[in-house]
């Protein structure tokens, strides 16, 4: 099941910040960290991210669950790099048959995994603490995004959980019609493709009906839209972005001072 509901404890000081400010803070933090290839700056960044987590009202256990796909891909990268990297510099740690593990490759792999986490976690935290409706409102009111785009995307987003149920229904309906793939991988692929196509056709038809219903309520009108839910962008929101930039900068500075900084370019 695709989970899109926010999980934060309501009223946590940073979770309550303006959604646009949260997204901006996450982007600033992540992009700053992309500047270096060393493992130290990302490690500091992760420590910072985990330290501020309670301020966002997210429990560590919840974050771990949300970040599970990230964890799996990181493990995959770690294993692949360690076992198959061509660059085997440094001291050899393990040499069993074809498997050769050296300190050099271990350092590169660890650095990469830390970077993935450091860069991706801010996004995970923001979306775990932000209601999609609030985000759309803030995008329109504070970031001047077109309402047609933001509300349209929000309405489409609301239909996403339905897709899982639809997929199951279509698959069962096909079985009832005598269509299954058995163990044949080619037939499996064809069945998957045709089920996906049926799902797409259904989604487009529903989307079209939704668009008509939205226009019937004046969504395509010329009248300037008003807003039912005010999103405010205040000093605290600006401070969140500034604080995020400062902390990311501090992580980079520490790395430079320790002599581990390896710029992405140059």
């Amino acid at each position: 099941m695709i989970s899109i509901e926010p999980v934060a404890v309501p009223g946590a000081p940073l979770a309550r910040r303006n959604p646009v400010a949260k997204v901006a803070a996450a982007l600033v933090f992540s992009f700053t960290l992309l500047a270096t290839l060393d493992p130290v700056a990302p490690a500091i960044a992760i420590a910072v991210e985990l330290a501020v987590l309670p301020l966002f009202g997210v429990r560590y256990r919840v974050l771990a669950r949300r970040a599970l796909p990230l964890l799996l891909s990181a493990t995959g990268i770690l294993v692949t790099l360690v076992l198959f990297a061509a660059d085997q510099s440094g001291r050899v740690l393990l040499d069993v048959g074809p498997v050769l593990v050296s300190t050099g490759v271990l350092r590169t792999a660890l650095g990469l995994v830390l970077r993935i986490f450091a860069v991706a976690l801010p996004g995970v935290i923001v979306f775990a603490t932000t209601d999609p409706t609030d985000l759309a409102d803030a995008l329109i009111q504070n970031a001047k995004a077109p309402a047609r785009f933001a509300i349209g995307a929000l309405a489409a987003f609301r239909l996403v959980p339905l897709l899982g149920q639809e997929w199951q229904m279509i698959s069962m309906a096909r079985r009832a019609r005598g269509v299954d793939a058995g163990r044949n991988p080619v037939a499996k692929l064809r069945l998957f493709t045709s089920t996906a196509f049926a799902l797409l056709v259904g989604a487009i038809r529903r989307g079209t009906r939704l668009a008509v219903a939205m226009d019937a309520r004046g969504f395509d009108g010329d009248t300037p839209r008003t807003v039912a839910r005010r999103q405010r962008f205040g000093l605290a929101d600006a401070l969140l972005i500034a604080g995020s930039a400062a902390l990311a900068g501090a992580a980079l500075t520490t790395s430079v001072l320790l002599g581990t900084f390896r710029p992405l370019i140059g």
């Binding site: 279509i170 309906a173 079985r175 009832a176 019609r177 269509v179 309520r217 969504f219 008003t226």
Partner: protein, 473 residues
């Protein structure tokens, strides 16, 4: 907003790319405050007329004849005076929270922020919405969602309210909720035009009936009594649910035969409690029960499409031959299709191919019948279910009644001994309904087992030999 008078003069509309006119030669005047039930056989252009009145037919999407005016204005310029509620609740709610959804239209119309929430609350109160504003729209039942959609339309204070079969996708309780909301929520001076083929239920809401002629023009126009006295029988034959034209039940002609399928303590946690039942050959069994009792889940379990969570489904030797020791959900699909046919609530889920003919031929081909037999079976089914002229059409372009007939026909194409249908009569016109009754009765009398999961009491009365009622939880 006051007003909401409608004037059509020789109005016609042809959708771009279509040869036939959806609607033609319609002359009609509806005064502000009138309550009109718009009738006509399937394909008479009722929905097209509502779309035109709602200003939802853009200039470039087709060709127009004659004129249509709302309070003297082109409907595309009178959009603020018109509200419309469609059939499908899922595809007309926009927002995640109920109050936000009602506010959506008010925001679009530029209503000042401080006025929005009082108007939202008023609209929710008028339709009798029982929850707070922040109730998730996904957590509402179909009837509640339609009430919310109605509140969204009413919050804009339309002079003219258009309802396009707002209860067709709902069970009887949900439909009653929506009709109650319409009856209670309308201002005295709001014009109402309602499309609904369950006439008896709609009559308390209207004081005038207009019947469209499929070839073009208006066939009848007047008070309900006058219109049905003059045209009732003809309308009933064409599929309109005219009150006072009952359909004769089809009782079984023989006693039921051997057991085909048995359920022992069959269930699925959180969806269906342990259930016992047996289905016999030559028997039509109806499964009833409130929403959430797990009727659809039971149909899927019996149909071998879901793995039971508790208990088991056992097929008899009569149904499955040597395979009777294996539970149906583990049969290969072609074997399953030969023995148990399943008809889903939404016909479109079942369509796999690009034409009606291929759709019917698919099952027989998958079960390995020779091409000559496939052709014979398919042609016969096309004829029997009045689909012959649509053989080359794409299944997704069919009308509701045609799609339903096709979905039943596809399940019959592999000649299964047992047929399981989930709400086959939902939203069907009287003609299709009667054909389904006859078809199921014929199957039963030929020795097939028929299981129907349904809310439709008339259908149960017309064809079921036995009823099983599920309890909630």
């Amino acid at each position: 907003m006051v007003g909401g008078g409608v004037l059509l003069r020789g109005f016609g509309w042809r959708h771009a790319g279509r040869r036939a006119w959806a609607l033609r030669g319609v002359d009609l005047r509806v005064e502000a405050g009138e309550r009109v039930l718009l009738l006509g056989p399937s394909g008479a252009g009722k929905s097209t007329l509502l779309s035109a009145l709602a200003g939802l037919l853009p200039d470039d999407s087709g060709e127009q004849e004659g004129t249509v005016e709302i309070d003297g204005l082109d409907p595309r310029k009178a959009r603020e005076r018109v509200g419309i509620v469609f059939q499908d609740p899922q595809s007309q709610l926009v927002m995640a929270r109920s109050g936000d959804d009602v506010a959506f239209g008010l925001e679009n119309r530029g209503v000042p922020t401080e006025e929005i929430w009082p108007r939202v609350d008023e609209a929710l109160r008028r339709v009798g919405f029982p929850y707070p504003r922040d109730r998730s729209t996904a957590a509402l039942s179909g009837g509640e969602q339609q009430r919310l959609a109605l509140a969204g339309a009413l919050a804009l204070r339309p002079g003219l309210l258009l309802l396009d079969e707002p209860t067709a996708n709902l069970d009887p309780d949900g439909a009653a909720l929506v009709r109650g909301a319409v009856a209670g929520a309308l201002d005295a001076d709001t014009t109402l035009i309602l499309v609904e083929h369950r006439v008896a239920e709609a009559l308390p809401l209207v004081d005038r009936v207009v019947v469209l002629e499929p070839g073009g023009g208006v066939r009848a126009d007047g008070t309900p009594d006058a219109v049905f006295a003059a045209h009732g029988a003809a309308l009933a034959a064409e599929g309109v649910w005219v009150p006072g034209h009952p359909i004769a039940p089809r009782r079984a002609t023989a006693t039921p035969g051997d057991v085909l399928l048995t359920a022992d303590r069959l269930g699925l946690p959180s969806r269906l409690g342990p259930t016992d039942l047996a289905v016999r050959a030559g028997e039509a069994l109806a499964v009833r029960g409130p929403n959430g009792a797990g009727k659809s889940t039971l149909a899927l379990l019996l149909g071998g499409l879901l793995k039971p969570g508790t208990g088991r489904v056992t097929a008899s030797v009569e149904l499955a031959g040597a395979d009777h020791r294996t539970p149906p959900h583990r049969w290969r699909a072609p074997a399953l299709a030969r023995r148990i046919g399943s008809v889903f609530q939404d016909p479109e889920h079942q369509f796999v191919t690009g034409t009606v003919f291929d759709e019917l031929a698919l099952g027989p081909r998958r079960t390995g019948q020779p091409e000559a037999t496939v052709r014979e079976t398919t042609t016969e089914l096309l004829d029997r279910l009045r689909l012959t002229r649509l053989a080359a059409a794409n299944p997704y372009t069919l009308s509701g009644g045609e799609a339903r007939r096709l979905s039943v026909a596809t399940a019959l194409a592999t000649a299964p001994r047992l047929l399981i249908c989930d709400e086959p009569t939902f939203g069907q016109d009287r003609r299709t309904w009667r054909e389904l009754v006859d078809l199921f009765a014929d199957l039963r009398d030929a020795g097939h087992g028929v299981v129907t999961v349904t809310h439709d009491l008339d259908f149960v009365a017309a064809v079921a030999d036995r009823t099983v009622t599920l309890e909630r939880g």
